[in-house]
Amino acid sequence: MAHATTKSAAGAHGGGHGAGHAGGHHEEHHDQESLKTFGFWLFLITDVILFGTLFATFVVLRLNTDGGPTGAELIELNGIIASTFILLTSSFTSGVAVLEMNKGNKRGLILWLAITALLGAAFIYLEVTEFIHLVHEGATIGTSAYWSAFFTLVGTHGLHVSVGLVWMVALMLQLSRRGITPVTTRKVNIISLYWHFLDVVWIFVFTIVYLMGVM
């Protein structure tokens, strides 16, 4: 899969290992980029395990409300459904950004990344609003094991999205300055991988935390 994402870069060096044995600086640079993409896939595996552990914790503790409020009582699904659609759309727009990049359209790439980031920011805004609402209703991280697990799992996802936002803004600056090069191409590919990954994680959050827990 790592190769698929660097299609444009991979052609020249085929299946060779190691940097530089075939000579030519240009080729080496491409090889470096494909190494980084592969490394990022491995990082995503570790992130899967990280979220997996948080999900397991949530599932174990989902009934431990300690006589306090339950999720079903306090959570309003309407906002969640809205934010789900916003995040799914942002995944689509980040895909469009990659397509624009492959066409070599720098302005289109930055534009679509900006739209993606805006949608991401809207998602975070809704999540923060939801958290504030819950705290006002009397559910904080210290209320019970259920709420500890809830805030930690949902919050960790939100933190990931926020990190992605900062990263995306930094990347837009780099793109406007340096244009589409092998290095920035790899960076856009990686952040779009990351963004899709967070989308997939959210689908699980939505299903397990919200749909199964609230409905």
Binding site: G16, H17, G18, A19, G20, H21, G23, H25, E28, S34, L35, K36, F38, G39, L42, F43, I45, T46, D47, I49, L50, T53, L54, T57, V60, L61, N64, T65, D66, I141, G142, T143, S144, A145, Y146, S148, A149, F151, T152, V166, W167, A170, L171, L173, Q174, R178, V183
Partner: protein
């Protein structure tokens, strides 16, 4: 004002213990001495440009090894203090609280800050050389991993003199490790020290998987890799699946303590048993993470010193990989007594027994490699040979522990203590010593004195058996772990005294090793040939120590033990491939960001421990700034020109 400072200092520093006071004074003095020496000899710039900012895997490896030996010293002193207390509990050498702190830090330091960095040090030095690469896949990340480990370890160690040591056991089970059970700061130092270094370990796991899978010399197929490389691969795969669990578990414990969450508390619906499950889902694979590379080292050493190809290469690969897989399905054997029921216990008992099978396969492979070999008993080989009986006994007692009904008797007794020290010392420590002795000439370009090394070897081995064999018996006599006192009429004292004598023999062995290194430096004799042991794998085909770029020309590999085969062909007088022309070599530039970023993590961690908000913000802002600085820097590598390579090679090989 003065009173305020006094109040603060008495809270900030650990006070009222003569041992700690001694440590504080000596730490203070050594810091002053180091700063003075660096300033006096004008070495600050050298330290910064040659070491702190280096992304060279060989230098990073050496720094890992130095740090781990320092940690071995501290963990060893902890062990000796405990043994003194247990030999004569009547003397009240360590009071209960101090004893709790010492067994906690002994465990954490030996596993996480001694075994892990020693392992990473060997990964760093050996793997790129064995696969014919010029560096690891991500040299910058590699440097970051090291500094994260280093500052994590420092954060943990500083608790000894500032704030107070953790004392809830090396895995910090709740509810004891919760705020209700451990209100002091020690537990917070524990969480942040391990958390920061754990992130570094995770990154190393990713780094070496990519290095091994993508950066092998042209022609080297997976099934032609040296066995050590296979063991590193299996260990790293285990790391990337296990370490995120540790990160989450410690993070949840932190939330409990810092924000009043209820994951593992007794009130609020928390579940302490969940922590114990989670921590062992990491903890059990962790012991395989550290022992698998030791298996790889034994494979290299046994084959090199028997002058034979490794017996059963494929079965060895299969054994390594299946161990790394099965290691994830045995965690509950650490708490058969928890009450999960017969079915759960039976499952974990069987998986635990299963894992003994691939391990047994390896033992036979090593024995058959030695069979009819031309064996030379140099120090690395002695450690490898001593390992086999030791590990077999340790493994068999492990199988005894895996029998769930019987475990109710052994659980948390000295029988268990003896078992895991036997596999961790007999397996991991002996293995890494073998590796350290084997690759020492490659790292530094000179050999260690064999005679003193043999003294150290015998003291270690005899000391080991004298120390731990009595502990099996003590366990069966009912002595449980983590007790600091017992009555004379329990009848445990004679065996405890014997055990303490053994521990001091090992302490003596360590002194022999220090002497061995000092002696070998004093009578420094440059290694002329890069091939110190008439080795089989690629690292022996280049000069010692290896030049910055390792291989002037990347080797073309045609078989397993390629260097050995090449030497055989050369001896037969077969024509060699003509040398390809040199080309400029692409290298990463040094960077100060990993060091600075790790300092920022340390700052943030220290802030979290004391709950000083300004410090947390400062530290985390620094971390983010470092990440952005790295993201925006594009000028990260350079080329070594051909004439410089030619000059270096000529100087190293003494041809001109």
């Amino acid at each position: 004002m003065l009173d305020k400072i006094k109040d603060f200092a008495s809270e900030f520093f650990v006070t009222g213990d003569p041992l700690v006071l001694g440590a504080q004074v000596s730490i203070g003095l050594s810091i002053v001495a180091i700063i003075f020496a660096l300033t006096f000899f004008k070495k600050w710039k050298w330290l910064w440009t040659e070491w702190l900012t280096s992304v060279d895997h060989k230098k990073i490896g050496i720094m890992y090894i130095i740090a781990s030996i320092l940690m071995l010293f501290r963990g060893g002193v902890d062990a000796l203090l405990m043994r003194v207390q247990l030999a004569a509990p009547q003397l009240d050498f360590l009071h209960a609280e101090h004893y709790n702190q010492i067994f906690t830090t002994h465990g954490v330091i030996m596993i996480l800050f001694m075994a892990m960095p020693l392992m990473f040090g060997l990964f760093n030095i050996v793997v790129p050389l064995q696969i014919g690469a010029r560096d690891v896949a991500f040299p910058f990340l590699n440097s970051l991993s090291f500094w994260m480990f280093f500052f994590g370890a420092m954060l943990f160690n500083v608790s000894f003199v500032i704030g107070g040591s953790p004392d809830a056991g090396w895995l910090a089970y709740p509810p004891l490790s919760e705020l209700s059970g451990s209100p002091g700061l020690g537990q917070d130092f524990y969480i942040w020290g391990i958390q920061i270094s754990g992130i570094g370990s995770l990154a190393t796991g990713i780094n070496f998987i990519v290095t091994i899978l993508k950066m092998r010399a042209p022609g080297m197929k997976l099934m032609q890799m040296p066995m050590f490389v296979w063991s590193v691969l299996s260990s790293c795969i285990t790391i990337i699946f296990a370490f995120p669990i540790l990160t989450v578990t410690l993070f949840l414990l932190f939330l409990d303590r810092y924000l009043g969450a209820h994951f593992f508390t007794l009130d609020g619906g928390g579940n302490p048993m969940m922590y114990i499950n989670l921590i062992w889902m990491w903890g059990h694979p962790e012991v395989y993470i550290v022992v698998l590379p030791a298996f790889g080292i034994f494979s290299e050493v046994v084959s090199a010193f028997s002058k034979k190809k490794l017996f059963g290469y494929k079965s060895m690969v299969f054994a390594l990989m299946s161990i790394s897989f099965f290691s994830f399905f045995t965690w509950a054997h650490h708490f058969f007594t928890m009450g999960s029921g017969a079915d759960v216990n039976a499952f974990f008992a069987i998986t635990t027994m299963l894992i003994a099978i691939p391990t047994g396969v390896k033992v036979f492979n090593w024995l058959f490699t030695m069979y009819r070999g031309r064996i030379t008993f140099s120090t690395p080989m002695m450690w490898a040979v001593a390992f086999i009986p030791c590990f077999v006994v340790g493994g068999m007692t492990g199988v005894m522990l895996s029998v769930a009904p019987a475990d109710f008797q052994f659980h948390n007794s000295y029988f268990l203590i003896a078992h895991f020290h036997q596999v961790l010392i007999g397996g991991v420590v002996f293995g890494y010593f073998a590796g350290l002795y084997y690759w020492w000439p490659k790292m530094f370009g000179f050999r260690l004195h064999e005679g003193i090394g043999k003294w150290a070897f015998w003291f270690w081995n005899i000391g080991f058996y004298v120390c731990f064999m009595p502990q099996y018996a003590l366990g069966l006599m009912g002595m449980t772990r983590r007790v600091n006192a017992y009555d004379f009429d329990m009848g445990w004292q004679p065996l405890n005294v014997v055990s303490t004598v053994g521990a001091f023999l090992m302490g003596l062995a360590f002194i022999f090793q220090v002497w061995q290194i000092a002696h070998s430096i004093k009578f420094y004799k440059k290694e002329k040939d890069g091939d110190a042991w008439d080795g089989r794998t690629l690292e022996w085909s280049i000069p010692s120590p290896a030049p910055l770029y390792n291989f002037a020309r990347l080797p073309r590999v045609t078989s397993q033990d390629d260097w050995w085969e090449r030497k055989q062909r050369r001896a037969k007088g077969e024509p060699e491939e003509p040398l390809a022309p040199l080309e400029p070599i692409h290298m990463p530039k040094n960077s100060g960001i990993p060091f600075i970023m790790s300092v920022c993590w340390f700052t943030a961690g220290f802030g979290f421990v004391w709950d000083w908000k300004w410090m947390i913000v400062l530290g985390l802002a620094g971390v983010i700034a470092c990440m952005l600085a790295r993201s925006f820097s594009y000028d990260t590598d350079y080329y070594i020109p051909v004439d410089e390579i030619e000059r270096t090679e000529a100087a190293l090989r003494g041809t001109k």
